[in-house]
């Protein structure tokens, strides 16, 4: 029910892309990059996604496509790239051997930190700060994964085909917000709120969002209980939620 290409897009933009938010939210991540020269890494997947991540002044930014970079890591297939993400494939740069130290040290520390937040030890979640960062990172990952599935997965594309143009605001009250922009059935996630949503879906608390992400509560019941608020062009939400159902399959 899942395919390697869609997973590669998710791994690129939703998983590695969340390094942006990790660096923004967690001082430990920023500390890893302190006093380091700006450096950029390009991941280039044959018949799949390509993106360039730049680390500069403690911040991280991902840009789509093959850009100017210090380290370039090509992958011969989506499966190989997915293997790097799940730790079964060792990445081999085609450019930037002099920067290999960053890849082996700082970059690995960052991805390990991201993994700690994305697949947390239950004991760590008792710490409120950790809980908030972990849940926020999951939120951004899920929001970006929605767009990748809507654009790549066969069933996801069917759902996207049924979506009208407009912006969907997805948010946690008093927490992270994202906008799923729909244009001609193509989805792009922007990791901030839109000023003019055509539809919205908001989780009432970050604790509720966590329970939903972990599958501990039922979203339909939460709507009835008023814990999830929906509004506007509901057909957009309806179709987005069908894609959301697939996110769990890919991120499991």
């Amino acid at each position: 029910m899942t395919d390697a290409k869609t997973l590669a897009y998710i791994n690129m933009y939703a998983v590695l892309g969340t390094l942006e938010n990790l660096c923004a939210l967690d001082e430990n991540a920023r500390a890893i990059l302190t006093n380091k020269k700006p450096i950029s890494i390009c991941f280039d997947v044959k018949d799949g996604p390509a993106a360039t991540i730049t680390f500069k002044n403690g911040r991280c930014r991902m840009e789509d496509g093959v850009g100017p970079c210090d380290i370039r890591i090509p992958f011969s297939s989506c499966e190989k790239f997915n293997g790097m993400i799940d730790g079964t494939v060792m990445p081999i740069p085609s450019k930037g051997f002099t920067h290999i130290g960053f890849l082996l040290k700082q970059f690995t520390k960052l991805t390990d930190l991201l993994t700690a937040y994305m697949r947390p030890d239950p004991a760590d979640l008792k710490d409120k700060r950790f809980f908030d960062i972990s849940t926020s990172l999951m939120f951004y990952t899920i929001a970006v994964a929605i767009a990748q599935i809507g654009n790549q997965d066969e069933i996801g594309k069917f759902s996207a085909h049924n979506m009208v143009d407009g912006d969907i605001l997805m948010s946690i009250k008093d927490g992270p917000k994202a906008t799923i922009c729909v244009r001609n059935h193509h989805l792009i996630t922007v990791k901030k709120a839109t000023d003019s949503p055509r539809a919205l879906m908001e989780f009432s608390t970050i604790e509720l969002a966590r329970q939903l992400f972990d599958g501990q509560v039922n979203s339909v019941a939460c709507i009835g209980e008023g814990k999830i608020t929906m509004g506007g062009m509901i057909s957009m939400i309806d179709n987005m939620n069908r894609i959301l159902d697939l996110v769990g399959l890919y991120l499991a």
Binding site: I155, G166, G226, I234
Partner: protein
């Protein structure tokens, strides 16, 4: 006018109990999620009693109900004639080893009432008979594919759902073909592309889908469809579950001047007593007989007795004419109230099943706001589904509805100064 705002504390208490023991608390179209009650805090979740055009929720709030249980309330809740027949039958028998003769009486009445019907087959829900219609068409033609109209709703069987719905696998919908409403060329094209493979074309008599303005058939549309289906040995199925008996007691195909091969009824047969019916042409009777298709309660006598009483009363009252007249009256009143307050209320579909949309924004936030203000004030309408008229709706109900609509529009206008 002063309006009392409804509160729903007890509804919430019951809902909190429900979610512990019932998946999603209230599932399906009567529930807050699928019913699109936005925001849910404005809506009652559970009712306590109902009479005529009204129901009272568990908090004691009274509503003038324009959803009519999503259709089954056709004469008025607790209609004395229909309930009287049901109670009388209950005293005799209901679910028995051999069916009651009442089944034959109702079948005869259906065949006499529905213009295209040569026979009647009974079940419980609309989905039971749309499923039966598809199976019958496939058995008769020995073909697999079915043509649907985009925006359709024909029930909850996997084949009626979409590829991305939970629990549906691609194979469930692999034989579904989709075309747009009122598009004869698309129909011709899909038939040409699937020559010799199509068992049936299934559609509602007009496009009364959710989330979008409802669309009537173009002039000559159904006559052309009828001709094309006959020429290509495609069974023409009309899903009259929602509109059936509300436009025409002879069937909505009769109303639009054509004859279906199979026509599905449910909601308006028995004023809330649980029964559905597939009617068909004689040439399909043998195929229908051959299906392995039944249910434990499909031949229960109480709904048969209720159905006979209901259909006879609808005939006596000429309810389709009544629904049209009341539908026009209420929608004209609502449009006037909207216009008085600077809103563009679009009314679409047949007046008996009117669909509403405020067109001042393209996001429907304003529409949803107005609908919840209506419900808050005791007028039960819903955001993205057609509405229903029942025979007990009075002029006084309509007048009050329009007054409340005006009040609700005033509040919405105040809440949305950006639009004015």
């Amino acid at each position: 006018m002063a309006s009392k705002y409804c509160k729903h504390d007890k509804s919430r208490e019951w809902y909190n109990r429900a979610v512990k023991v019932i998946p999603s608390g209230i599932y399906g179209h009567l529930g807050p999620a699928e019913g699109l009650w936005i925001p849910t805090t404005s809506w009652p979740f559970f009712s306590e009693r109902a009479e005529a055009s009204y129901f009272w929720d568990v908090d004691g709030n009274k509503y003038i109900d324009y959803m009519c249980a999503y259709g089954p309330n056709v004469l008025g809740y607790n209609d004395p004639d229909v309930n009287g027949a049901a109670i009388e039958q209950a005293a005799k028998e209901n679910c028995t080893t051999t069916p009651s003769y009442k089944m034959v009486e109702l079948a005869e009445l259906m065949v006499d009432t529905v213009a295209s019907a040569d026979w009647a087959f009974f079940a419980k829900n609309g989905n039971d008979v749309t499923q039966a219609a598809i199976m019958c068409a496939r058995y008769y033609t020995h073909k697999k594919k079915i043509i649907f109209v985009n925006g359709f709703y024909h029930g909850v069987s996997p084949w009626t759902q979409k590829l991305d719905y939970p629990g549906v696998i691609p194979e469930d919908v692999a034989n579904n073909l989709y075309i747009d409403w009122n598009d004869i060329n698309a129909l011709k094209q899909v038939i040409a592309e699937n020559e010799g493979e199509i068992a049936a074309f299934i559609a509602t008599p007009y496009l009364h889908g959710n989330f979008a303005d409802n669309v009537l058939p173009a002039d000559g549309y159904w006559q052309q469809v009828r001709k094309i289906c006959t020429e290509n040995n495609i069974v023409l199925i009309i899903d009259d579950v929602r509109a059936g008996f509300r436009l025409d007691l002879a069937g909505s195909d009769h109303y639009y001047g054509f004859e279906a091969d199979l026509i599905c009824f449910c909601k308006a047969i028995a004023n809330g007593w649980n029964i559905s019916c597939l009617c068909g042409k004689d040439f399909l009777k043998s195929s229908m007989s051959g299906l392995s298709y039944t249910g434990s309660y499909w031949m229960s006598a109480i709904p048969f007795a209720a159905g006979i009483a209901c259909i006879n009363k609808m005939k006596k009252l000429n309810t389709p004419a009544m629904f049209r007249e009341k539908g026009i009256k209420i929608t004209e009143g609502l449009k006037a109230a909207a216009e008085n307050n600077g809103f563009d209320l679009v009314v679409s579909g047949e007046p008996a099943l009117f669909y509403l949309r405020i067109a001042n924004d393209d996001s429907l936030f304003i529409h949803q706001d107005w609908v919840q203000e209506m419900v808050h004030r005791g007028i039960f309408v819903t955001s993205h589904h057609n509405h229903f008229i029942n025979a007990s709706l009075t002029d006084e109900d309509i007048k009050r509805t329009c007054e409340i609509a005006d009040d609700a529009f005033k509040t919405v206008r105040k809440n949305h100064p950006e639009c004015f």
